[in-house]
């Protein structure tokens, strides 16, 4: 059989080992989330808890913090992404199709922001938000997420717009469409799949961000999910069960999304690789 060639056996061993490495933390978090506190600290650890319990999920949902963390995360991520798309898509189109004197330089500068260590912005953002009275507000977080999202959106969308053939645009011009109507009627509809990819990555950047959320928010009225979940593991007390239950609830939507939208996501992640 072809499948038993040594090269194939080695390949499958590599795939299997790496799959276990990837899946193991997820499985263990799930197992932990359905264990009682006694089972959790049994030595040796139990692989399959018996009986399983939903007490941590119940506790997390009844406490109510989870709902406010997830609401904050959703509002901040969705609103900031919508705003970033509204100004990022035209910018990407301009950089790709209507070059002007310094446009190349501006584009390079925007992409280079991705290489900055965000801690550089930590101090000025904190002082800025303090003087604007935006500490511990969703608005403050949305503002500091804009550059993170804009760099991603402009990077992904510029690559797409550059591939739109000139003939289509010329045909639109002959039909008498002006520059802006050409953008709205031709370029945007053509790029819907890419806009989807860019939106997902922009959303995830805000959804997963931790450092700014940690420095700019203080209470559950504004804290987002990453800060909230980190709160279960403090110097004084550790709630592994509730942390795991929260973690599972937090990542399930992302995992489902990855499985269903994987083609587009992989394209977005590797956008830079195929550009060269």
């Amino acid at each position: 059989m072809k499948a038993f060639r040594p090269a194939n056996v080695v390949s499958y061993i590599i795939l299997l080992v790496m799959s276990l490495f990837v899946v193991f933390p997820f499985v263990w978090t799930f197992v932990t989330s359905i264990k009682t506190d006694v089972q959790m600290f049994s030595i040796p650890p139990q692989w399959i808890p018996h009986p399983a319990t939903a007490e941590h999920y119940r506790a997390v949902l009844q406490e109510g913090k989870f709902q406010s963390f997830i609401t904050n995360s959703l509002v901040v991520s969705i609103v900031s992404t919508a705003f970033s798309l509204a100004i990022g898509i035209p910018a990407a189109y301009g950089f790709a199709k209507h070059r002007y004197r310094f446009s190349g330089l501006f584009f390079a500068a925007i992409v280079a922001v991705r290489m900055f260590p965000p801690i550089v912005m930590g101090v000025p953002y904190f002082l800025m938000m303090r003087s604007l009275g935006l500490i511990n507000t969703g608005l403050g977080l949305m503002i500091v997420y804009l550059p993170l999202e804009l760099t991603l959106i402009i990077w992904i969308m510029e690559g797409f717009f550059r591939q739109v053939p000139h003939e289509i645009e010329e045909a639109a011009e002959i039909d008498g469409l002006g520059t802006f109507r050409k953008f709205i009627r031709i370029a945007v509809p053509l790029s819907v799949p890419s806009i989807g990819v860019a939106s997902i990555f922009s959303f995830l950047a805000a959804w997963n961000e931790f450092m700014f959320a940690l420095t700019l928010t203080r209470s559950e009225s504004a804290q987002t999910m990453p800060v909230g979940i980190a709160g279960y593991v403090t110097t004084f007390q550790t709630f592994w069960g509730q942390m795991s239950a929260t973690g599972i609830l937090y990542i399930i939507p992302v995992i489902l999304f990855t499985v269903f939208a994987q083609k587009g996501m992989i394209k977005g992640l590797t956008a830079g690789a195929s550009k060269e």
Partner: protein, 290 residues
């Protein structure tokens, strides 16, 4: 015609440029100013001290050890990620049955918040109740005190970070590999080249742009690592896993040395830019030499 096209470009890009100027350029200039002033405590206005903050940071033992920890971490994680990522990408590129499934599976860690990964691994690496040491005892060796020992904690940070980052290497290399022209390999086979020769003479040179992109993205990400360290070890034990970002964070928001924090972050920024610049030069020089 040409002129209206250009003017349109300015209008299309202007809103984004204004936002970027307000949210990146302005804060950076502000930070630069802070780094040149004496500023202890919450007050941001002190006397002008020039490069004193920079000198203080560079001379401090904590910064030097954070710098060497970071350099060690960056080197280790890049090497492991590239080695693992290359192996997995080569295997996936063979398109064996089941490949689409594995591709989705390997993409998962990329979507997960680093904080969650840090928490998961912290629980996995717990010394008594942890699953990792339990697994190790099944194969007959006791695991180390992961988070309590110097090299155990460093290994834990490395493993948690490789888990988060190797999928990126896999996906980028895989995308580049699948774009390689099939007929080159055909020709090489006809000339009697074996698989290793084909890899060294065709795959590697043609993948250079993708590898460069992986290096630049992953280097700048590894240099600024924060979330995983903060959650997993918080720099401990005894500063063994303190990296530049966590050092700056503590110096600024716990110690309230805003001036030194800003100075340190500019030093880090210059370092990253220098490394990326050298990388670009090296790759280009090699390309021209051939």
């Amino acid at each position: 015609m040409k002129r209206t096209r250009r003017r349109a470009g300015i209008w299309f890009t202007l809103p984004a440029l204004i936002v970027m100027a307000a949210t990146v350029l302005y804060p950076i200039l502000w930070s630069l100013k802070i780094s040149l002033y004496q500023s202890e405590g919450m007050m941001s206005s002190g006397s002008f001290v020039g490069l004193k903050n920079y000198a203080k940071v560079l001379a401090s033992h904590a910064f030097q050890s954070a710098l060497s920890n970071t350099l060690g971490f960056v080197a280790a994680t890049i090497i492991v990620e590239l080695a693992v990522g290359f192996a997995v990408a080569l295997v996936l590129n063979r398109n064996l049955p089941g490949t689409p499934f594995f591709r989705v599976l390997f993409a998962l860690p990329l979507m997960i918040a680093p904080v969650v990964s840090g928490l998961q691994w912290r629980w996995l690496f717990a010394d008594q109740y942890g699953a990792v040491n339990q697994l190790l005892s099944l194969v007959g060796t006791g695991g180390p005190l992961w988070l309590g020992s110097v090299w155990g904690a460093r290994a834990a940070v490395l493993i948690a970070n490789v888990w988060l980052a190797f999928p990126f290497v896999v996906l980028v290399l895989l995308a580049a590999m699948s774009a390689l022209p099939e007929d080159l390999y055909e020709a090489a086979r006809l000339d009697g080249a074996n698989a290793v020769q084909a890899f060294r003479r065709i795959t590697l040179p043609l993948l250079k742009p993708a590898i460069l992109m992986v290096l630049v993205v992953r280097l700048s990400d590894a240099f600024r690592v924060f979330d995983v360290v903060y959650i997993l070890t918080n720099g401990g034990p005894g500063g063994a896993t303190e990296v530049l970002s966590s050092y700056i964070y503590k110096n600024t928001f716990t110690g309230l040395h805003f001036g030194q924090g800003s100075a340190a972050s500019f030093i880090v920024m210059i370092l990253i830019m220098a490394v990326c610049f050298v990388l670009f030069k090296l790759m280009r020089a090699k390309e021209e030499a051939r």
